[in-house]
């Protein structure tokens, strides 16, 4: 399998405070990779660094073999990366249809965009019912669906999801994770998932990285991570 994402020696800093200290990470095309760790371990920063957003980075990032480090965020979007940031990044004052349309910003293939609208509404029928509604008035679960839908509208190869379960009821979380699994299987979209809820993430992922204090401390399959007693005690709280 070709590598979709290759990261070597990634350092990142906000101003003078350094947050990531040399991350190595790689993802096969079509895989679901979970990035776990305690609060403040640098998970969100890692996702931001991949998009070259709001942080200064050094080190190399390759997406589909192409160098992405030092490129503007818009260029990285066109390399096929869609990022659902923490807090979902919803355009609250716009309608939910306009939110989806923005996801397809810069695409010229009208027919393809129309197709993707149908695809997104297929996964999230609720969004079709809510299409004219102001996004800020949607429920938390609907906003998360909208955020994932918006990301899909760019026809990404790699989906970066930052805590999709945050603040949602367990039933809603289960639905959303089930849909993420289907999106991965049916569309071949690779997913890099940052999650506090380790049990959920281990269920869906086929590769796991564990972070602490801005470094990768363990990499393995979900089975290996589950089987590691020290890891379970310290990081997974189980």
């Amino acid at each position: 399998m070709p590598m979709l994402l290759e990261v070597e020696g990634l350092h990142a800093a906000y101003g003078t405070s350094r947050v990531l200290h040399g991350i190595d990470l790689s993802m096969r095309a079509g895989s679901v990779t979970a990035l776990l760790g305690a609060n403040g371990a640098g998970k969100t920063t890692t996702l931001r660094a991949l998009c070259q957003m709001a942080v200064r980075t050094t080190g190399t990032i390759r997406i589909g073999g192409e160098r992405a480090d030092g490129r503007p965020t818009g260029r990285i979007v066109r390399l096929g990366v869609a990022h659902v940031p923490d807090g979902r990044g919803t355009f609250l004052a716009l309608s939910s249809e306009e939110n989806l349309r923005l996801g397809a910003y810069g695409r010229r293939d009208r027919a393809g965009v129309a197709e993707d609208f149908e695809r997104v509404y297929g996964y999230f029928p609720r969004l079709r019912e809510r299409s004219g509604q102001q996004a800020g008035t949607l429920s938390g679960g609907e906003q998360q669906m909208l955020a994932i839908g918006r990301a899909l509208m760019s026809r990404p190869r790699l989906l970066l999801l930052d805590e999709p379960s945050f603040g949602l009821a367990p039933l809603v979380v289960r639905d959303i994770f089930e849909i993420m699994r289907r999106i991965n299987a049916e569309q071949g979209v690779s997913i890099l998932l940052v999650e506090q809820n380790a049990a959920l993430a281990l269920d869906i992922a086929d590769s796991v990285y564990l972070m602490a204090s801005g470094r990768i401390v363990l990499q393995g399959t979900p089975q290996e991570v589950r089987g590691n007693d020290a890891v379970r005690r310290v990081y997974l709280g189980a």
Binding site: V77, F91, G103, S154
Partner: protein, 290 residues
Amino acid sequence: MQAFLHQLLAGLATGGIYASVALALVMIYQSTHQVNFAQGEMAMFSTYLGWAMLQAGLPYWAMFGLTVGLSFVMGALVERIVVRPMRQAPVLSVVVVFIALLMIFHSLAGWLFGYTIKRFPSPFPERAWYGSAVMSAHEVGAIAITLAVMALIFGFFRFTALGLAMRAAAQNPVSSRLVGIDVGWMLMLGWGLAGAVGAVAGMLVAPVVFLDPGMMGGVLLYAFAGALVGGIDSPAGAVLGGFIVGVLENLIGSYVVGTELKLTVALVLIVGVLIVRPSGLFGRTIVVKV
């Protein structure tokens, strides 16, 4: 009755001018949360550019189009060169820079074109509209052009992909970057559009107030009052607010306080709105959940 009607309609005509400038103010406020105090002087400078073109022998409508285009470029350049480096600066510094811009455009116009008052022609004939005594052809034309410009602006923001991207960049720059929007370009475009709208307002008001470097001082105050009455974050509100202020200014000026105190009306409105209803008629009160 005839006189009252005349004052009312004349108020609408100048209200249209205020509405245009208010719209320009709101467009910039929405995307950057800055109030461009130099908006009026930029419009005045644009009008001088138009005047220079007329002196050079250009026909009116060619001058009109060219002036709007040049003003677009001028607005975009001001954003790129002056405003963008100030992005992280404290509010007070930004205010000072805008006031400096105001002075620069003011002095530049005086230096280049002189301080003597000049006539600026109207594209409309100098007579009453269809023989009616209540409205001049210029007033009717000014209202029509103002409404057309506004329809264009609203259509652009509502129905085009670029307009949607500009609205998105204004309200959530971080997410906009993540969907591939170049937020810097959108800000430049916004300033350009504001400059263009201001230029139209300047060219429409100049035949009435005559052209001199101070001609937009009062207009900017009225426009500011209009934007506040309508709600500084609502384009539709700003337009309506501009018309309301225009009519109030004229009626109160002719029947209550006299023309000398007209400008006071704007100031009283500004203070009044800020005390009674700071978000304006159509503005959203932003509730922050903690």
